[in-house]
């Protein structure tokens, strides 16, 4: 791969630094042995992500996209469509079966899937953060809010107690967690507040990419609206490249400018979010949008 992009006969070379922060190409994740026949036996046309040939499950296949700094990309689809699988492959929680994901860092481009597990983990500390649907996945419940934020900070080498506390209270203030709750166990927090702590933890080392997996699904409507407001302003403030996975079009509409629609493990539509909502092309997207608008 080079950074040179060719448009027809005219090479647009060297000067054209691509602006993507994260670039995913032909990402696939299959559970079970697979070949071309197995892949061809799944997908939206077949109406299933489970192959009738050998029972393999093609959770995601041929997923490609780019996200730039300051941009949020949505991944929409119903349960089981493969959107969370894509996110977990990028997060390093699940190993992809094929494909490539390149991340722009200060030390140059990194091919994430080629890294060993220890390098992947280091990436998660300061470059790529994840906010999970279930706060229990991203936080330690028996540790205080401040302690949870201290974890990525100490992993990044912070050794000054006062500075760790200052940074934690700064982040908690920004995510609107009452600062007098900083030393309380996260277990004792409400759902919305846990999610805010998780966001504060994700931002601890100023990552360039943040992956959101259904960040407001477990929350009631008014709390969810507050958390969404917060995420939107944080994305703008920090010029973060974000991927937002959700089945909820109101979340996608509020946070993202572009989105991919997934069904049975494939991307069926790729469009600007407002266009998609106004004028969905794929029949599946039309159904999704109609359901959301009903």
């Amino acid at each position: 791969m080079t950074n040179d992009v060719e448009y027809g006969r005219y090479p647009v070379a060297r000067l054209a630094v691509p602006e993507w922060m994260l670039k995913v190409e032909r990402l696939g994740r299959v559970y079970g042995p697979y070949d071309d026949t197995v892949i061809a036996s799944t997908g939206p046309e077949i109406g299933s992500s489970k192959s009738a040939v050998n029972g393999a499950v093609v959770a995601a296949w041929d997923v490609s996209f780019e996200v730039a700094a300051g941009e949020a990309l949505g991944l929409v689809g119903e349960s089981g469509s493969g959107k969370t699988t894509v996110l977990r492959c990028l997060a390093g929680d699940v190993a992809p079966s094929c494909g490539e994901a390149r991340l722009r860092t200060t030390e140059g481009d990194v091919s994430m899937f080629d890294l060993d597990s220890s390098a992947r983990r280091r990436l998660r500390i300061d470059t790529l953060a994840v906010v999970y649907q279930d706060p229990a996945e991203g936080l330690k419940m028996n540790i205080s809010a401040g302690g949870n934020i201290a974890e990525p900070l100490t992993a990044a080498g912070w050794r000054n107690f006062g500075k760790i506390r200052d940074r934690a209270s700064e982040l908690l203030t920004r995510t609107e967690v009452p600062i007098n709750r900083m030393d309380d166990l996260v277990r004792s927090f409400s759902g919305g507040m846990k999610q805010r702590v998780q966001i504060a933890k994700a931002l601890a080392n100023s990552p360039s990419v943040v992956l959101f997996d259904e960040p407001t699904t477990g929350l009631d409507a008014s709390v969810a609206a507050g958390v969404l407001d917060l995420i939107r302003s944080l994305l703008e403030e920090h010029r973060i490249a974000a991927i937002v996975v959700s089945h909820d079009f109101s979340v996608i509409e509020m946070l993202t400018s572009r989105c991919l629609v997934m069904q049975h493990g494939r991307v069926v539509e790729n469009a600007l979010t407002d266009q998609l909502l106004e004028d969905p092309h794929h029949p599946y997207t039309q159904r999704l949008v109609a359901a959301a608008r009903a």
């Binding site: 220890s118 983990r121 330690k140 540790i143 205080s144 401040g146 302690g147 949870n148 201290a150 974890e151 990525p152 100490t154 992993a155 050794r159 000054n160 107690f161 006062g162 500075k163 760790i164 030393d183």
Partner: protein, 281 residues
């Protein structure tokens, strides 16, 4: 030594046969080569129950020859029941001599203390370890523990220190304080008090840690960097009681322990206390 000789000596009356000694010495060599790394070993049955010093005992038996002089203490006391029994076991089994004076000893087995003085380049300190895994308190999964050590990922340990400081205002861990050895591995320093921690740093003597129940041996070789895990702005402090002096030798230069429910303090190292009294008499 050839295998045939080993087989012959396996019939010996010693507590450890040559095979066992060889295995333990190999583990010790690996431990010395990688300071702070926990080397697994077989851990034989000993005439003491696992968790009662069987790891330290096996190391001592594997390194002691009949020309060695051993000192065994329980807390700082040469005359504690466990100390007396272990010392008798070692000397009768190996033919080594015994002493209570650290400077005369070549091998010193202990659980809770490093003797106040007398350890030099010729000394080997053997510590009995109840829990060799410093991360046990923050993680239970063995695979995850192995990964954390392999990647030197000790952030969870730092978080536990952070939590301790937040909850209690000070870092409350007193004995077995976690230390970073040779800028690489975090070790559990067994239940030695904080008082003894600075004495492990760049020490002239070799320290061997044996955990018989957990089947691990690790080491701090002489002249090795040993740093207690401490935040930059929270200085590491050793135990101190204002105005306390030993009720026997009147000194406050050694680690003092108090009698239960009283203000009576005494030196933890009984032999040091005895020699201090004799010198001033």
């Amino acid at each position: 030594m050839l295998l045939d000789d080993l087989i012959d000596s396996a019939q010996s009356d010693e507590l450890l046969d040559e095979f066992a000694k060889r295995e333990i010495r190999r583990a010790i060599l690996a431990a010395v080569a990688i300071p702070g790394y926990q080397v697994p070993f077989g851990s034989r049955e000993m005439p003491v129950a696992r968790g009662w010093g069987s790891g330290g005992l096996q190391i001592t038996l594997a390194v002691v020859h009949d020309d060695d002089v051993v000192k065994v203490i329980d807390q700082g006391d040469d005359d504690g029941v466990n100390a007396v029994n272990l010392r008798r076991l070692v000397t009768t089994s190996t033919g080594a001599d015994q002493t209570s004076i650290a400077a005369e000893a070549s091998v010193i087995q202990s659980r809770h203390r490093i003797p106040e003085d007398g350890l030099d380049e010729e000394s080997i300190l053997v510590l009995q370890v109840p829990v060799p895994e410093p991360l046990r308190g923050v993680e239970r999964d063995m695979r995850e523990l192995a990964r954390m050590h392999a990647e030197a990922d000790y952030s969870r340990m730092w978080v536990s220190l952070y939590e301790d400081k937040v909850r209690n205002g000070v870092i409350t861990q007193t004995t077995g304080y976690p230390c970073l050895v040779n800028d690489r591995y975090v070790v559990a320093t067994t239940p030695i008090p904080r008082w003894d921690i600075p004495r492990l740093h760049e020490s002239p003597f070799l320290t061997l840690f044996g955990a018989g129940r957990e089947k691990r041996i690790y080491a701090i070789p002489p002249r090795t960097k040993v740093e207690p895990l401490t935040f930059e702005d929270v200085p590491f402090e050793v135990e101190h009681a204002d105005g306390a002096t030993c009720s026997l030798c009147k000194s406050n230069a050694a680690f003092l322990v108090s009698l239960p429910n009283s203000d009576v303090w005494m030196c933890s190292d009984t032999d040091w206390c005895r020699r201090t009294r004799e010198a001033s008499a």
